[in-house]
Symmetry: C2
Subunit: 248 residues, 2 copies
Amino acid sequence: MGGKTVQMVLEYDGSRYFGWQLQKEEPTIQGIIEEAIRRITGAHSSLIASGRTDAGVHALHQVCHFKTSSEIAPEALKRGLNALTPSDILVKDVRHAPQDFHARYSAKSKTYEYRILNQPDPDVFVRAYAWHVPHDLDFAAMKACMDLLQGRHDFTSFRASGSTNVNPEREMMRSELHRSDEHHLIFVFEADGFLRHMVRNIVGTVIEVGQRRFSRDDFVHILHARDRRLAGTKAPPQGLYLTMVKYE
Amino acid sequence: MGGKTVQMVLEYDGSRYFGWQLQKEEPTIQGIIEEAIRRITGAHSSLIASGRTDAGVHALHQVCHFKTSSEIAPEALKRGLNALTPSDILVKDVRHAPQDFHARYSAKSKTYEYRILNQPDPDVFVRAYAWHVPHDLDFAAMKACMDLLQGRHDFTSFRASGSTNVNPEREMMRSELHRSDEHHLIFVFEADGFLRHMVRNIVGTVIEVGQRRFSRDDFVHILHARDRRLAGTKAPPQGLYLTMVKYE
């Protein structure tokens, strides 16, 4: 395990992939990039991301790092990786980082966006890039829920079922809902970290508030109850984008 | 061959398909829809489109028709087709048409758009939905070429190689170039008909004018020469959209 720590920024369309994490039989982002690095440097390097995106989830700005004894220049590595990887993965930036840089542990915040197509008919061109919600939504009630999430909370109610081994408290620096045009809504979440499925569980629950299945008071109750059986249905993966990772 | 003529409007993402026209081994739009009609009505119907889109070409508004003796109501047929077809095909409208309606021969004009992503880096999310042209382009020169195309012309120079059996004259009602935002260009063509590959050959040639490989005078010469060996390289399919078909 040698010399240099290399830090990269990736953009990917997650539609075709079984998520970030290496799998034996299925294509994953980690698998594709590690194989390309091996072909360029001649040695295996383990790639560590700021966080593991799930199958179908996209990234506009995913940060990852690996260690290598290769002397290849970052710009040449970037060109080589882009030549070797499919067109749904783009290596946007490659640079040398301080020896102790860690894509996950050094991160100060991550930002996710979740996109909703809100119109009666589906749209064939965004089926893999947004969640189609055909119902009328109470935008003001949804915005009120998003406001409630700001600050430090125990997000147990919105974590994935079965995941109990990490501290469920997170600092939510931004939680916003925007109408980007007549038919598109965008949720924005920036936090010091996210529990597994947390964004998708929050979005699914806020959408149920928008559909008036839950009230704003129900939402407060769900957040404070620390009981993951209370939240709404998890939103599907294709609306979710990792859009930024910030470091010191 | 019975009773009713049914007219439909389709939207589709052509990425996964080998074009409109039925093929034995490969998925095509015609093949998918004809099979769904057969499952709903119990009988085969031949589907005729306003024009056959090529592999990878998209449609926001493709019109097609078929004849059937089925008594099924248009609204029920629409629901059934949307339930049976994949999410990259959307049946937007189904209605009964006059007995002699013909999706191709009754059409008065068709409109195509061609989308260009014009920035140094590719974008993983539009790789299947626009042509990535990284070079600086002379927008004014390209616009001048588009203006020249208006009116009645012999488009032999821009037809597909090997297709010689139809009259190459077409009436171009609109030929425009717009900058939709900083990094996106949109070509719009409305004509009484299009020769095979005509839009892609025109766009490829106009882009070469934008790159200053051809001058505006070269473009005039190419158009008037009626010689398909002179035009530029054909633009790739993924930027092309059939956006409207007009009838009387």
